[in-house]
């Protein structure tokens, strides 16, 4: 542990494209690895995008959605799907075609979801050289604490569900769920560890609008009768202000990551480090 208090920077991205946020993240990860900057927390909202995760077996669309694609384009191959999504103004990103991939399966990210990317030295947070489980657990705690603050009974528990793609394969996954007649997802999580730096992060579905397009995909490989999707507004029955959720989330991060302070910085302040001659 450092003798000095640890601090972090916070950059609010506002509404951005997934690809732009990813580009920025990749640059910041390198700067964090080389020690040119301290931990940084990115927050923001994404323009609508459906992305494939690393695990192709868990990438997929719902039958209803594919049927709609077939009705419009006569077939439902990836080209037709991409065209159909394009018509709906939903972007598509295939993580498997990219060297910088994230874990997990299909995901929808869009307006109304609070996206949080902590780009941090995970050793300082977990106290271990590489402790994926512990870091995962801390992220879960942050998510549940934010949700519980709004009176939403979110739990970080192991859920066992059959994968629709392969019935023999039964996997348990620990995640943040709202437990009802079936588990409901109220956020997403995908992490990456490289060279002592953890990146990617989590999202919380805040507004009702935020889960509009989940009916199109097999969420993490599961169909909707196995796994539901809900939002903070659905669960709490009140309108929720994104800015307040962001502030609360940062407050919890400060505590869980043990920062003395998190200060907001302008994105531009980082840039001269990279391109100045």
């Amino acid at each position: 542990m450092s003798l000095e208090g640890r601090v972090a920077d916070w950059i609010d991205l506002g509404r951005v494209d997934y690809a732009d946020a990813l580009d920025l993240q990749i640059k910041l990860i390198e700067l964090r690895k080389s020690g040119e900057m301290s931990d940084v927390i990115l927050t923001g909202e994404m323009n609508p995008i459906i992305s494939f995760g690393r695990n192709n077996a868990n990438n997929g669309f719902t039958e209803d959605f594919l049927e709609n694609v077939r009705k419009k384009y006569g077939k439902s191959d990836m080209n037709a799907i991409k065209k159909y999504l394009h018509d709906l103004k939903i972007q598509f990103y295939d993580s498997t075609e990219n060297t910088h991939m994230r874990g997990g399966g299909t995901a929808y990210t869009g307006p109304g979801q609070l996206v949080v990317y902590p780009i941090v030295n995970h050793k300082q947070i977990t106290g271990d050289d590489l402790n994926v489980a512990k870091y995962n657990e801390i992220i879960d705690k942050i998510m549940t604490e934010v949700l519980q603050y709004y009176g939403i009974p979110a739990l970080s528990v192991k859920v066992s569900t059959k994968l629709p793609v392969n019935d023999d394969e039964r996997k348990e996954r620990k995640d943040v769920w709202i437990m009802k007649e079936k588990p409901y997802k109220i956020g997403g999580k995908a992490l990456r560890f490289s060279g002592g730096v953890a990146s990617h992060g989590f999202s919380i579905y805040v507004t009702k609008e935020s889960i509009n397009h989940f009916n199109k995909i097999l969420v993490c490989g599961y169909s909707q009768d196995q796994l539901g999707v809900t939002s903070m507004e659905h669960e709490s029955g009140i309108d929720i202000d994104m800015k307040k959720v962001t502030a609360k989330t940062l407050e919890v991060i400060k505590e869980k990551f043990n920062y003395e302070n998190i200060s907001e910085v302008d994105l531009k302040e980082f840039i001269p480090l990279e391109v100045a001659v």
Binding site: M1, L3, G35, E36, R54, N55, M101, R102, G103, G104, K123, D128, D129, L130, N131, V132, A133, K134, Y135, N136, R173, K174, D175, K189, A190, L191, R192, F193, S194, G195, G196, K268, E269, I271, P272, L273, E274, V275, A276, V277
Partner: protein, 438 residues
């Protein structure tokens, strides 16, 4: 010596991972801490760094396969002292043994010989000292216990286990840790507070050490890249700017009324652009197999700031008036000083001017700002007495210029011709057709 690198324990409850991608292949030579594989555990993709430098002998799993914690991921040859065949055998024997025991509670058994495989957690030392340890009796301990010993800084090979078959338990390690502390000096810092020792002196006297980071680091990197990759030649020339001096004195007052500080730099930029229009290879860039001639004139101006040199770029400088240039220079300099430059303010330059004369100095050997082909250094204007056409002495204002160009892209003759055009325009400012409008 063949070294078996086992999939490390990445946290309680995580017992396996899926190999997403190999970043090396058999036969590759890797350095310590190079990433060798991407492995996905629940919701996380983890880059696994190599604990050793050496040659990859064997990848034990295919992409897409599931590996359990403690199973061998790769075998690395870290400089062979023992014949490879013998090693292979050992590896095989080891893997046979492995199959019979459960993985999570897997026991590490050190052989009598040197090449005991050891789980090296990334970042933890797997150093020479341990290998040459003189005590060579069997050490039985689960990885959890070994990690604990590492954390406490206890040499596990010196502990006598009290568990079944002499296995070392948590308690053994803790006890050994305590006794070591009491027998050794109490001054030892706890292992977690790793203080970086910074010497405030060298053998000649006291010194200050400034960490290399930020803009300074970037400048250093870019300059070295420039010096390494560019065949730089510097050519110098004195320009008589007496007439320009007079014009500028006059126009300065008009500009001031508009709140614009008129320096010589906008005139120099305009003259340079005239030169670039005639001599295309100075407004160029070289790639591996071609030279790119740029048809735009984006002029970078080097600005000295507290944190180091920054080069904001005036885009489309050929289309801007002298006053507009003066205004933009002032704005960009201010942004650089305040560190509010946008990334785009610093990109897309085709030629750079560095005005060290504003601080002092006549000539320099500026370093080219890659990937550009040339850079013009501008010195301080000085007075010189010259003889006029009738042999009478006369005071003149002289501007010293230093042009560094990339000899790969152009030759000295063209650089000289370019400088002649620049000189002609600076000496006869009427040629510049000063547009005072914005």
């Amino acid at each position: 010596m063949a070294y078996e690198f086992k999939f490390p324990d990445v946290g309680e409850g995580i017992t396996e991972g899926e190999i997403v991608k190999w970043l090396v292949k058999e036969g590759d030579v890797v350095k310590e801490n190079d990433n060798i594989a991407q492995i996905e555990t629940d919701k996380a993709v983890v880059d696994i760094p190599s604990p050793k430098s050496g040659k990859i002998l064997k990848l034990h799993f295919k992409e897409g396969a599931t590996i359990k914690v403690g199973e061998t991921l790769v075998t690395i040859d870290d400089g062979s002292r023992t014949p490879a065949i013998k090693q292979e055998k050992k590896v095989e024997e080891k893997s046979k043994e492995k199959k019979s025991v459960s993985v999570v509670g897997d026991l590490e058994e050190a052989s009598d010989e040197e090449e005991k495989p050891k789980i090296c957690m990334p970042g933890e030392p797997c150093d020479e000292e341990e290998k040459t340890s003189e005590i060579k009796y069997k050490v039985l301990a689960v990885p959890k216990v070994r990690n604990l010993a590492n954390k406490l800084g206890v040499d596990i090979s010196k502990i006598k286990g009290t568990g079944p078959e002499g296995r070392i338990t948590d308690d053994d390690v803790i006890l050994a840790g305590k006794s070591e502390k009491t027998t050794e000096t109490a001054e030892i810092e706890p292992s977690e507070t790793k203080l970086k020792v910074v010497k405030k002196y060298d053998m000649w006297g006291y010194v200050d050490r400034i960490p290399l980071k930020g803009v300074r680091k970037t400048v250093a990197r870019n300059m070295i890249a420039s010096v390494k990759n560019v065949a730089a030649v510097t050519s110098m020339m004195d320009v008589d700017v007496t007439r320009l001096w007079i014009i500028r004195e006059k126009e300065k007052k008009i500009a001031e009324k508009r709140g614009i500080k008129l320096t010589f730099l906008p005139f120099i930029i305009k003259s340079v652009i005239e030169g670039l229009k005639e001599h295309l290879y100075l407004n160029a860039e070289m790639t591996e197999d071609e030279i790119i001639l740029k048809k735009y004139y984006n002029i970078g101006i080097a600005v000295d700031t507290e944190v180091g040199l920054m080069v904001p770029v005036i885009k489309g400088a050929d289309k801007k008036s002298i006053l507009a240039l003066a205004k933009e220079i002032a704005e960009l300099s201010e942004k650089a000083q305040k560190r509010t430059l946008d990334i785009m303010d610093m990109k897309g330059g085709s030629f750079t001017i560095t005005n060290y004369g504003s601080i002092g100095g006549n000539y320099g050997t500026p370093i080219i700002n890659p990937p550009e082909a040339a850079i013009l250094g501008v010195g301080r204007i000085f007075n010189r007495v010259v003889l006029d056409d009738h042999g009478r002495p006369e005071g003149r204002k002289i501007l010293p210029l230093s042009l560094t160009f990339d000899h790969r892209i152009l030759d000295g003759a063209e650089a000289a011709r370019f400088l002649n055009v620049v000189m002609r325009h600076l000496e006869d400012p009427d040629l510049l057709l000063v547009e005072m409008g914005e």
